[in-house]
Symmetry: D3
Subunit: 341 residues, 6 copies
């Protein structure tokens, strides 16, 4: 996996912590009980907590965690070190280290672990696609397959992982890119004809949005593409193949045939985009076949990515090394960490 | 998988749609463009949309989808049919059917598919654990491994899948149960001694919360359990084994040894709870071994569940059967659907 | 495998031995040398030779072997026993036993083994398809994938194995059936339009030949089928799906969709035939899926069948049991054999 | 696989097309119907047809196809390009391209595809053996396991694949070599003694045929070989081991033992030939073991070779590029093709 | 595995403990140190030690352990319970329980575990052969593949496992049977001829020893067997096939051929014994093939059996339950144990 | 496998042949009969016998065989060549060649094959561990899992294979090393406390024996190790981890944690030894993990090693090359053999 770190906007200002997270509603209940006990006992030691992932991957979620930490840690008594958002992280490598009074962090351990676990899982899956694609752009298309409360976070993580754009407005906003998409089958079904649908699109949608027709709704993809190319001429930027599994899905041979027949019809400028069940293996297969593809839309390969479970361990209390059974006491040396707060 | 449908509170009132969902920020961008085109063209047909999953499983997310639909569909012109929340759904079985003017549903197709996909994935994984456990209670413990924006939804789905309780306040609230938990390793590390920690717990936490000690922090689990049992006597409800992988994890033999040595120390009443990497296979292994277990905490088996991707298809427009290539036109017959709106 | 023995014409009269076989040009050279030695030595004992296959299967080639044996064995001194053409034969079961002066059979051992080996291989493969198809008719379509010198024999063996018909004139003649076929892609390409092609077919081909259109040449199969059904109406007997692998091949879902959309277009009477890479496994998959299919065309599954190697052993010479090392001396008992000559 | 092209006689003159092929009896019936339709419609365009195989291999059948094409294509209006007989062909590589009026080729597409499919399959299997044998000669012995109508073609293809000789008279004649063979077990069984059999062979068979004794009929192979070597002395060219599977088959250790014991008996000049279930893997095993072998007889590895299915596609009609769905229109560029007619 | 317990002589009197075992030379050194410490500290508690195996199998070694225990445990203060020699034992089932002053058993834990581990491993492997053989007698032939210091113990264990006899004098003596064997290849090589060797055997060996000829030394096994049968007539009890791997080993087909040809030579009374690489799988294969076999000689399948590692745990000290971490304290209930001392 | 040959004492004087071996009680019975026949016939030729193994490995048993051969072969008429004890031997390589009157060796073929088979198997397994350990010392701990009659031989072979020491007195004596061990769980259970046990050890055992405490009997291994280190200080040489499988076994993480926490407790000098189910794979895993280990105890990986079956063949009788079927006659050339007698 390439150790590519994309240019990032200063995203942390965009991640506004949800009220339910701030009040601890998403925390494990036992942290509330722990707070209650420690407060009653008058204990609030300064601790060092370290977060590390189970597996290697592309780290994501640091920016969002920082947006929370700046709100909850006491400014006078806090230190936060982290690896860079979008950088590579090894299995078990400490990625985030927090030094603070325990009571200021207790209710957020659950939330921070969760942000890192989900986001790192998505970003890593996206990167696998990007690495496989050898420069062909990839767009994150999976919003429909994850809960809407985090589809924006998933799209943001995909872009951190190297995708060029994504389909949700929220994800694009968080990542500082323009959202991307073509048209749904629904539009064509309602308009009743693919050519009329792309013509309506062309009529009503601002010129800067590329005209990309979805060509598998009613007719043979190649026949439909050539028909559209004849009508739309140079206004047509490309076509998207999304042939359903029931009809064999999109194959390298279909792409090659479409390219050859578009060229024969003097439509060399029409690009070909491919979506539907795209995985790194299928991307490699397309590339190896020699089919010329101008972009991939990836959905469930990213949305079904397993969270990369992060664990939080206390390694120091009031300056003294400590650890539970099974873990090594004391601050873990990691010169790659940078101090953020 | 048992076709068990748990008693449910009237949850749909609890699922308040997020503003970002209502304004369509979590929608694919092309639905906004579709809205724009259709509005400009003056088209808004009455359509029938059907949602179906890729794989079989325990349906979840219907209640949340209903909370959204009651807000966005025009009361005068809507029909909604669905399978019951928590019931079994076949692969490709229509689970939700909406009849409405297209413009009232267009921006929510993405969100509804996502709710059903994620929630059905989690509920199904939970049910696999519940089925394996043959009556031993299971608590959802995985909040720390998913993004906090949906940890409550994950916990809710786990309970729909049959878990007895969960660790987040939000999940418990949505599902109408009491949240459940013991104590974190952090409390014991900070207090510095497991016995003192459980004593502090006992002193400050309301009596109705069961006293369950975490026993693998500093000492051999069996030695620690017996020590605690001697001090806490009948106030001790149970102990939780969460031995880390680095120390071999929790094994059936450890549970048997702990039970035998607790009994030898006259602590027959002390229950044994087990957590850490629990899966249906490991549950079956524990049960087959004859080890006596009083409860399991399950985390990442549920949180890493693949979303069960739901697809939305238009099957009828203005009363006429239609379908894109690869799909069957017309309303799909499913006598199991019940009309909800 | 069903032990079905189809009704057979008296085929043996149709198998006219080739001159090259009669003069021994297809024999191993060492049999010519053996003939020369034995003649010079004045030896010509009466022998019993038995033929058995390596594997179990559907016996085929007996009729053709008989056509040769009646020509070459001396009428006054010959006995021939065999299992029935098209019946089941066990691995190593004696299927043909010849008693004759050695010099009358010496030059034909190679040819007879070869007839049985190839034909039994093909018939067995055909039977596997027939068994899988549970009554749906199968036509042998593989002539283009075997040498034309034996494509008729292959088609004959397929029908012995249970196929309803075959595509070659010679095979059909040997098996006593009517050859079967639709139209090649070449006709449609030359005529330039599928509808015109089926109309030309309808105009020039005798009425008793069913009108079955090939629908994957230029357009989406479903669109083309409906167009043809509208034009040909009740004259159309069926359509054949032969979608190439490059376009996903024929799938159960495609058949279901075509059936549903034909029915919606009031073309319930139009049958659906399927070809292209059909194997017993794919036949079972189609049947299990519930797709309604009216016939399969099978090609390379039969043509690529391994010959079921037959071995010929001398078991008796001048009435005395004998055998080479590794074989059992004396006539092998097999009450299933029937005397034919 | 080595890209070896053996010296070839001008075989095409030897392949006399069968009358049944010339009249189209081995053609698919639908080509007869196509002829009828086109003739009635008065259509007979000039077309380009290309033939390509499914898999890579050693091309064979071109010479036989040429013998047919020179007879059926109009001399004034034909072009034929092909790759060389016996050369390597890639998967899907165009191997034969015909430009002619469609009606002159229509009835022969089936036959030509079949010749190429079967022959290329056999030649490729033979080449795998030859490559494995690293210079040790291989003789094609499989006539008894294929239908006698094509055993000569199979033997011809084996020699095109690199075999030194073959056992059928017809195959040897087509390939321009001397047929090869030793003696059958039958001769020894009838004579009743291996020594007497080789002596009779020596007495009656021309001196130029090598004396090679088959030594596994009655006695231990080593004992028999030494006995024969003592009697035949320098007249003995070699022995053939054909030990049946029932007695363990021929093993590298048996060959080594025989060589050592022949040498100890001063019969260094006696060569050792091996047959019975020989495959490339077993050839490699023999060679790796260090056993000294002077020749292999290969049978069913070649006869059971899967045909390498050839497909024929129209790519141009009256000078215009065309193709059915799934194929690329226009003449396929292949600079390796040479014009033959 | 059948739960067969063979009739046993009172073997324990035959197992005379070796002096090196009695003085503790085969004990782990740390037991000597333990003895020294406890003696110096004046500690010698009464303990209960339990022995259990890793895997299930046929228990063997109890008799030999008893012979040691009666010598070393104080008669006044000892209890020994055990499962029966030759009976089935479950994985982890307590098989031997000793109650005695610790110092009387300390130096023998290593030896007793070792006796049980090795012997149970061998007996179990023997039983697998016996079970596979369905009543055909099996003789243990493996002495040459284990160290001579324990070849007798191995043979004894094989008979406990169900073998009919064994080849070593010592093993037969321990098990109370007559040793069994035929003749070595060496005898035949030295005498120079198999017939002369069996004649010399017949001349000099007492009549009650069966005449069984080894027939694979010089000639084809079948030829040799028939030759011997003709010379020895009714004095010949049987022949042994021991064909080496280099010549294909003994196969079911060889046995069938030998039986058929012996019968044809009127030697129905000559039995057939088989040896060389015999395993339960090969025994099953022989039986399934229908070959008639009168006895198997089994060697390395038994000698290569993995020891079934026995573990010894202290479960009680001075009447109080105890156990190390990982084990259950107190005497393990096993009603199948019988008191022996 | 390294071709390392360890320094060896003149062990052959230590291997005193057992009386039962000398009288032939461990011989196959048929050798006694052979002796009887040959004596009666007055035959006693001078023969050459060669021994070779089935598989490659580390040769062991030569010294013990020599101790027997010097006793039984006539001094005036014997030659013995062998490969060196502890050297590498190829599969089927002649490792021992004996030339002597047949009657002097006949009764010992079984015993010598057995010594070589068992010992070579053990030595080879030990070498696999030594090679994996890359210089970390290995001690043979498996006496408890093999019969006490050969536990010394097994330990001797382990040291020939490269182990540093072994746990039995007899093995150490044969190999000329000091036996090695720590303390058994039994000592700690009886003393009732690990600290008291190591203190008693320290009090009563000579100073030159290293103090190594077994730390998994009662408490958490790390806690116990630190407690002992505090009490024993510099007298403590190391601790042994032998955590049972029921408690997860010894893992690399446990070793790392123990090392870190010992160092934190200023006990850098305390070494860590590991035992329990150690195999070459697990050794490699420990080393790859970076855990610092000071020694491994290996038991059942060595004791369960399959004997490497040696075969003895006569290759020459009275100076003439001979061999049975399947073997090569005459003395086998092997320049690596050295003459020992």
């Amino acid at each position: 996996m390439d150790n590519l770190i994309p240019n990032q906007p200063n995203q942390s200002t965009l991640f506004e912590p949800k009220p339910s997270v701030l009040v601890g509603d998403s925390s494990d209940i036992y942290f509330h009980r722990t707070m209650s006990i420690l407060r009653n006992e008058g204990i609030n030691p300064n601790v060092v907590i370290e977060f590390f992932p189970q597996r290697s991957g592309v780290l994501c979620g640091i920016n969002e965690a920082m947006a929370l930490l700046v709100k909850v840690l006491p400014e006078s008594d806090r230190e936060v070190w982290a690896l860079p958002e979008g950088g590579y992280v090894e299995a078990k490598e400490v990625s985030l280290r927090i030094k603070a009074p325990y009571n200021s962090i207790c209710l957020y351990e659950t939330a921070i672990s969760g942000m890192l676990s989900s986001s790192t899982g998505w970003a890593t899956a996206a990167r696998e696609c990007v690495d496989a694609a050898e420069g062909i752009p990839i767009v994150s298309f999976g919003a429909r397959h994850v809960h809407p409360n985090i589809s924006g976070n998933m799209d943001y993580a995909s872009i951190i992982g190297g995708c060029e754009s994504c389909s949700t407005i929220l994800g694009a906003r968080l990542a500082g890119v323009t959202p991307s998409g073509t048209m749904p089958h629904a539009l064509i079904l309602i308009v009743g004809d693919t050519i009329k649908a792309i013509q309506a699109f062309d009529k009503h949608i601002p010129k800067e949005i590329p005209r990309i027709a979805l060509v598998d709704t009613f007719k043979d993809e190649v026949e439909e593409s050539i028909n559209i190319a004849k009508v739309m001429r140079n206004k047509l930027e490309g076509v998207r193949l999304d042939t359903p599994k029931e009809r064999g899905g999109v194959t390298p041979d279909l792409v090659k045939e479409l390219r050859a027949k578009l060229n024969l019809a003097d439509a060399h400028h029409v690009q070909i985009f491919v979506s539907g069940g795209i995985t790194p293996d299928r991307i490699r297969e397309f590339i190896k076949s020699g089919a010329e593809i101008d972009g991939f839309g990836v959905g469930s390969f990213i949305t079904r990515a397993r969270p990369n479970d992060f664990t939080a361990d206390i390694h120091q209390i009031e300056g003294k090394p400590i650890a539970k059974r099974g873990r090594l006491p004391g601050i873990t040396d990691n010169p790659r960490l940078e101090r953020l707060l």
